[in-house]
């Protein structure tokens, strides 16, 4: 077996073994070693895979596993669907039961109609990027939850599901055969259901049930898409799909696959499950939002994007669903005061941007989508984990309870600042994608209007939050030197902060080696190759130079600008003892829910259009 194949096997099998061990292991000490060891193996294996790919010039690696394995995976798929049926009965959900019966029928049809033969696994740079995200960011989250869940009586189960999640996520993104992909996709649905319902409160149970309903529905759409893919294109292999050219009913499988992707990535109108999932413990949110689950939807969309590009209706509808999800959630995030909810909206918005890029489909847009996927994962994980620490210390994750956090928890505040800065500020990575998207959107100017308001809203809600952390209610003073509560988490937060900055520094090589090969697979990419300056057809970005400048100014200002403090604030003649603060959330709950309903309704229309458009174009 070659190095790459060994790494691939480790990336999937070690987490599954670790999960089993964690379930069986009684003592706490043992769990520490199991999860820590699994995390270490995952990180090392993913780096080996990266080096192996680099050694082969980042060409795709195809693996054809033995025939027996296909049978095992097929059986696993049936077991999963039966499990859904069981949980549908347990949660008294008719929809889940219907969806899983539908899934069973579809699986039967898939088995009955074999497609063309080919490698079941394919690791190109898109898969590699996702494997790196899952294995490195996901492992850090798993290690974080060791500490975070220390007082939980069912910690073993929790850790087992988290670790297993990483394994199936790795497996899913390496799949080339839709029959395999569907199985691991369902596995993430099951694990997210278990994690969301972990607390076993009524709220948690309802949230888990909602997630199960929407995601089994999405799974059914996926399976129908896979079946129709075989019917119209005579293949289950994603690598066999042709770029463009599909018309009429042949577009229907792509529409169905996109709908499946929307459910998994919590795009409007299917966003409700991800928002409800906020009841789960913070590591779960971090895991679902940054390194697993939601990435799977956009991953599929990026894989099939070249195939529906020929049809303007389909690609425009997909781009608009993404654009609407971005705009609506960005506006709603401004009206919300709960940090986890704000982050959830921001996740949906960022994924919306990726969906939009997949809809636009130009090389520039595809590059922007991959940059977003990578940089969002790291920064969002950091933000969730930091909010988790705040919740542990202050007992609340409401932004209104975070005034003056900089004084009590300077290091957590720094972590949140790094997270926000890398998500919003130039010259960090996310800004590169913002720029690429904006320049890509001129082929479809309507999207530029959605972007304009959305980008400004992002600045408002993130920096309003940052302002709360900086605003000291008790007057001037220096931050605490010792941040005792953070001790337990310093490695996870430190590693993610450093990682978020480091990948921003490496934006040139990353776009050159990891992103350009995938993007240029089918479409020729102009520019974007220089390792220091990024170019597009009509623009350029001196990313590295800007980053260097920012660091110099930061250090210089820290060293030389030390304002004399201790003066009393200006109060118009009155003495200011304590600052009266209160965040502004602009819209009443009623207008916010009106916006949410309008966005959901509009995107529901677009989703219906997605399915109807191929039928109509076939008839005409």
């Amino acid at each position: 077996m070659a190095t790459g194949e060994v790494a691939t096997a480790l990336l999937v099998l070690v987490p599954l073994a670790g999960a089993a061990a964690s379930l069986l292991a009684g003592p706490r000490r043992l769990q520490r070693y199991i999860v820590g060891g699994t995390a270490a193996v995952l990180i090392i294996a993913s780096v080996i895979l990266l080096l192996d790919m680099a050694g082969r010039g980042f060409t795709a690696l195809s693996i054809s596993p033995p025939e027996e394995l296909s049978t095992v995976v097929e059986a696993l798929g049936i077991v999963l669907t039966v499990t859904f049926l069981y949980f549908g009965w347990r949660t008294r959900s008719v929809l889940v039961a219907l969806f899983s019966v539908g899934e069973l029928i579809m699986i039967g049809l898939l088995v009955a109609s074999p497609g063309s033969e080919g490698p079941a696994l394919l690791i190109d740079t898109l898969a590699l990027v996702l494997v790196l995200i899952t294995s490195i960011v996901g492992s850090l989250i798993a290690v974080y939850s060791l500490t975070y869940m220390r007082d939980d009586p069912r910690r073993g189960t929790f850790l087992a599901v988290i670790v297993a999640f990483l394994g199936v996520m790795n497996a899913a993104v390496m799949c080339n055969d839709m029959r395999w992909f569907e199985v691991f996709w369902s596995a993430t649905t099951l694990f997210s259901f278990l994690l969301i319902g972990h607390a076993r409160t009524d709220e948690a149970k309802n949230a888990a049930r909602l997630a199960l309903i929407i995601n089994t529905g999405g799974g059914l759409a996926l399976l129908m898409g896979a079946r129709l893919l075989q019917y119209y294109h005579d293949t289950y292999l994603l690598s066999d799909l042709m770029a463009g050219g599909a018309a009429g009913l042949a577009l229907l499988p792509f529409a169905l696959l996109s709908i499946g992707a929307f459910t998994k990535s919590a795009q409007l109108p299917f966003q409700s499950w991800l928002l409800a999932a906020m009841v789960a413990p913070t590591p779960v949110s971090a895991l679902l939002h940054s390194s697993t689950m939601v990435n799977l939807g956009v991953f599929l969309l990026l894989r099939i994007a070249p195939s529906f590009q020929g049809d303007l209706t389909i690609s425009a509808a997909i781009a608009l669903v993404g654009g609407l999800s971005f705009l609506a959630t960005s506006v709603l995030a401004m009206t919300n005061s709960n940090a986890k909810r704000v982050l959830a909206y921001s996740t949906i918005g960022n994924l919306g941007l990726i969906v939009m890029c997949a809809g636009i489909g130009t090389p520039l847009a595809m590059a922007a989508a991959m940059v977003l996927l990578l940089y969002h994962a790291v920064s969002k994980a950091l933000l969730f984990l930091a909010v988790g620490v705040v919740k542990e210390v202050r007992g609340s994750d409401d932004i209104e309870d975070m005034y003056g956090l900089r004084k009590d928890l300077p290091l957590v505040t720094m972590a949140i600042f790094v997270g926000i800065a890398t998500l919003v500020l130039p010259p960090f990575g996310m800004f590169v994608s913002k720029w690429l998207i904006s320049e890509a959107a001129i082929v479809f100017p309507l999207l530029a209007f959605l972007l304009a308001v959305g980008f400004a809203s992002i600045v408002v809600y993130y920096f309003k939050w940052m302002g709360v952390l900086l605003t000291s209610v008790t007057g001037p003073g220096r931050p605490l030197r010792n941040d005792a509560s953070l001790r337990a988490y310093r490695w996870e937060l430190g590693a993610l902060s450093a990682g978020a900055v480091a990948i921003s520094v490496l934006i040139g090589p990353i776009t050159h080696y990891l992103i350009a090969p995938f993007v240029a697979r089918e479409l020729l990419l102009p520019g974007l190759t220089d390792t220091l300056t990024l170019f597009t057809a009509g623009g350029e970005l001196q990313a590295f130079l800007l980053l260097f400048l920012a660091i110099v100014v930061f250090l210089a200002a820290r060293l030389f600008l030390r304002p004399a403090g201790g003066d009393t604030p200006y109060g118009g003649g009155e003495a200011v003892d304590e600052l009266q603060v209160g965040g502004d959330y602009y819209l009443s709950e009623r207008s916010a829910s009106r916006i949410s309903r309008a966005g959901t309704a509009a995107s529901a229309v677009l989703v219906v259009l997605l399915v109807v458009a191929p039928l109509i174009s076939e008839v005409l």
């Binding site: 320049e439 605003t471 100014v553």
Partner: protein
């Protein structure tokens, strides 16, 4: 683009903005039957601020002031050297964010309220400025050095949309919401003093220089002399419009500001682009 020209633009930009501030104060004074300060008063002010000992509340204010100035200056450098307008826009908008963070980091009521309002001002003017630049990009290129000719004929409404943007950035009625001197003294700037206040002010000059710079891309002349003349005239007309609006209106609420910009401002550009598409120009 000739580097000498770029350097000339780079130096002239903020100086001209400073001068325009002086002109603004004189014209406003005359409109109100006053004499007004000397033309060079803004420069004297900056000079004086640098010689004063700063009194600051927060230990991060200096850092944020430095970032504010740097980001705005870098945005204008990019513009002057013919760089990407979108990149310059995003960098400039970060300068504005550091103004907000600096205000939040001082534990002071007026500064806090000012910061809250400045965020809303960003929400109001940023989408419009972004769309103006997108409209320029649709007509050719995002590079300032390759700005397509004849923008004024193609997207005149985008230039008009820059007027309310300038009104907000120049802190003029009806949208002087963040600094509102009768209510908030000077809002986000209230706890800044000495050289740090001067840095913030200079940052604002660079920001304005960038926005005026975008406006100058809309017009061009056949030879260098008329080219410079029409570009200066374009910027000056925008300034005059802002001064006139300032003197005939009273301050409106935050909500009105955001709603106006996101409907009328964005609408103007949308209308212009629809006309362009309908007539098949692009």
């Amino acid at each position: 683009m000739d580097p000498l020209v770029s350097i000339a633009i780079l130096l002239a930009g903020p100086l001209l903005v400073g001068l325009s501030m002086g002109v603004d104060r004189r014209i406003t004074a005359r409109m109100q039957n006053r004499r007004g300060p000397p033309l060079l008063q803004p420069f004297y002010d900056i000079g004086k601020l640098f010689s004063k000992r700063p009194q600051m509340l927060g230990d991060l204010q200096g850092l944020f002031a430095a970032f504010c100035l740097t980001f705005q200056a870098v945005a204008f450098v990019l513009f002057a050297f013919g760089g990407d307008l979108l990149v310059a826009f995003f960098i400039s908008s970060m300068g504005a964010v550091f103004l907000v963070l600096g205000a939040y980091s001082a534990p002071s009521p007026y500064s806090y309220l000012g910061a809250n309002r400045e965020l809303l001002a960003i929400l109001a003017y940023e989408p419009v400025l972004f769309l103006v630049i997108i409209a320029v990009g649709i007509n050719g290129s995002f590079l300032a050095s390759e700005a397509p000719a004849g923008l004024l004929e193609r997207i005149p409404l985008a230039l008009a949309a820059l007027v309310p943007v300038l009104v907000i950035l120049l802190e003029k009625s009806p949208y002087d919401v963040p600094t509102a001197h009768q209510e908030l003294v000077s809002g986000p700037y209230v706890e800044y003093s000495g050289r740090y206040l001067a840095m913030m002010e200079l940052g604002r000059w660079f920001q304005l220089a960038f926005v005026y710079g975008v406006a100058t891309l809309f017009v061009s002349g056949p030879d260098p002399l008329t080219n410079v003349a029409v570009k200066l005239a374009a910027a000056f007309i925008l300034l005059l419009a802002a001064i006139l609006i300032d003197n005939i209106t009273a301050r409106l609420t935050r909500r009105r500001m955001v709603l106006f910009m996101l409907t009328a401002g964005v609408g103007l550009i949308a209308l212009n682009l629809i006309v362009l598409y309908a007539s098949g120009v692009i």
